[in-house]
Symmetry: C2
Subunit: 145 residues, 2 copies
DNA sequence: TAAATTACTTGCAAATTGCAAGTGGAGAGA
DNA sequence: TCTCTCCACTTGCAATTTGCAAGTAATTTA
């Protein structure tokens, strides 16, 4: 891409992303699934931001419809439910981590250590891979229990 | 970061990002500023998503308060106003482009050519730098007019 | 001097949110 | 078996937010 070419299309992928992530609660649920290893309704409900139960039900169903989560029986307890991240949401990790790096730089009260941004800038692919491995570890453990 | 260390803090940068970008309209305004070279109220209002004028006023002021935009007189016409991206919002570009790459992969009706994701994966830093250069070109031209 | 442009503000109905309480089914304990 | 709790929601309702239409004040253009 050279500087004479100006892409005219570039609003569209952004609008697509805005439709999913341009909602505070969907955004935070993706965080909980991708970074915090949360998988159950109760766990999502317990997040410090305090999502209300009707909104949680609404957003979980939205994220399922959008192909970001799958709703499955909890292997530990058949009467219970788990929400697992799909490949589509796992593929969102690089974008999510990018946003974390940016936020870490500008949030004056960030709790993220400087080593996080550093580790990402030294080895972005490795940092993403580490998070992916964590997700797979959590889900494999859960599914085989 | 090795696999024994599990960061406990990582919700917070995400919550910070959610406070800014976890809103459809703020998200799309950042797209307009960072990728479409839009700078004026009229231009924002003309975006195909059809933001209403009261919401636009509200979000522009929010983004200004958050340090994402600066509100300045239009150098071409003193009675008019320009909104320029700050360094903080320019630094958001990598995250925005990451989301575009992801969306391009999953949006079945994406208008983005395959070459976009390809060019980003071949040379992420170069792709970001190209967008940054575009922004600076637009703003320098505007400011010196 | 009249009309248009620009960046908003205002009013109001409709949609969405947050809070509290309720529901139905499964499992555990007595 | 009967109750109790847990779980994943649903329901009702007041309050906030949104979208639409219209209005406004300060220029600027014709």
């Amino acid at each position: 891409m050279n500087s004479n070419e100006k892409p005219q299309w570039n609003g569209c992928p952004t609008r697509y992303a805005a439709g999913i992530v341009g909602d505070k609660w969907c955004f935070l649920l993706l965080r909980d699934v991708l970074l915090h290893g949360k998988r159950t309704y109760r766990e999502f409900l317990a997040s410090p931001e305090g999502i209300s139960t009707n909104i949680l039900a609404n957003r979980l169903s939205k994220l399922e419809t959008l192909g970001m989560l799958t709703r499955e029986a909890d292997p530990r307890k058949a009467s219970s439910v788990c929400y697992f991240p799909t490949q589509k949401s796992k593929d969102f990790l690089p974008a999510l981590v990018s946003m974390m790096v940016w936020a870490t730089q500008y949030d004056e009260v960030t709790e993220a250590p400087a080593s996080f941004a550093e580790s990402f800038s030294n080895d972005p692919a490795g940092t993403i891979a580490w998070y992916e491995a964590e997700i797979d570890r959590v889900d494999q453990a859960l599914r085989s229990s």
